[in-house]
Amino acid sequence: MANQANQQEQAARPEGAAGTASGNATDNITGPATGNAAAAVHHLLPDSLFVAVWGALVVLTAITSGASVWFPGTVGHTVALIVTPLKAALVLTFFMHLKYESVGFRAMLFATLGIVVVFLGLTYMDYLYR
């Protein structure tokens, strides 16, 4: 337990250093003594956080499924349209650790998502209004 607490403390400390860890020569020289770059970058999170996220995902699944079964049509589709991206965002943010990665990873994801959204949007506009 003491070891775990220590690791968490160690992991939490270099918040700002995470982004610069790679490619920073002065940081790297102390690397072998204080631990590797990965340990500095990583944040150990409590299991309970992930259980809570899982609970939220199951509840959201129940909401979309319930809405589509009991309110088929516009209401069901609208709920699915709102809840589904929310579920994906929860998985990406917590399970896939995006919240705790450096800005670069988030930027890459948003760039990719942006391209897909533009592509989907333009295609739909074409088919809906032709």
Partner: protein
């Protein structure tokens, strides 16, 4: 890998080696785990996977606009309970996966392995349900190219075509994920994956969560469309 490891191993022992004087040694020691590099590569791969399914989503979207009533009618044939059950199974497997990564990072290799086995068991349960679901469709004469299917409306043929292609492609990804976990297990057991060297495990986890994310989108597109 072995060269980088050797550099990392010798540095603390041979303290006479000044990293600043030997850029190659310093580089080797500092980058024997290139966390950002490994992660970037994995994410780039995930984007290509995402793009693969995104293209199918575009096709689905266009045909749904053209054949809206047929899509709603065809979707009524799908088993909502099976779709929702499989969603909960996959979400739970994502939880066991992330807990397996977390356990490894705390140095609890045995717990990590147990959680990986649980993840694989859930993946298997997902595939078994999928098997019975597809089996029921086949029994009703619903499979690509079947006479019964080809006698249906154009829009319904497209719906079932997309259903089989997209859930099938997703199923292949589930099996590949299980393969990746089987690849991982001996590495965790032997300690090659550990509290200080866990990037491979994290990347397998990322892959598994992507498989989960794709299914999250497939659920409303196919099962909740009536």
């Amino acid at each position: 890998m072995s060269v980088a490891n050797a550099a990392g191993m010798t540095l603390p022992a041979g303290s006479a080696v000044d990293p600043a004087a030997d850029p190659a040694a310093a580089h080797g020691a500092a980058h024997h785990q290139d966390y950002e590099g490994d992660k970037t590569g994995m994410w780039l791969f995930l984007f290509t996977e995402f793009a693969l399914f995104a293209a199918l989503f575009v096709i689905y979207g266009v045909y749904r606009i053209i054949y809206t009533p047929e899509f709603h009618h065809a979707a009524a044939n799908l088993n909502v309970a099976a779709g929702v059950t499989n969603t909960v199974i996959l979400l739970t497997s994502s939880l066991t996966m992330v807990l397996a990564v977390n356990a490894l990072q705390r140095g609890e290799n045995r717990r990590s392995m147990a959680l990986l086995w649980a993840t694989m068991a859930l993946a298997l349960a997902f595939m078994v349900i999928k098997y019975f679901e597809w089996g029921a469709k086949f029994e009703h004469g619903l499979y690509p190219g079947s006479e019964h299917l080809l006698a249906m409306d154009g829009g319904e043929i497209v719906f079932f075509g997309l259903y089989f292609v997209m859930t099938g492609l997703h199923g292949i990804h589930v099996l590949l994920g299980v393969g990746a976990m089987l690849f991982l297990l001996p590495r965790i057991k032997s300690g090659r994956q550990s509290a200080t060297n866990y990037t491979l495990t994290e990347n397998v986890g990322l892959y598994w969560h992507l498989v989960d994310v794709i299914w999250i989108f497939l659920l409303p597109l196919f099962y909740l469309t009536n």
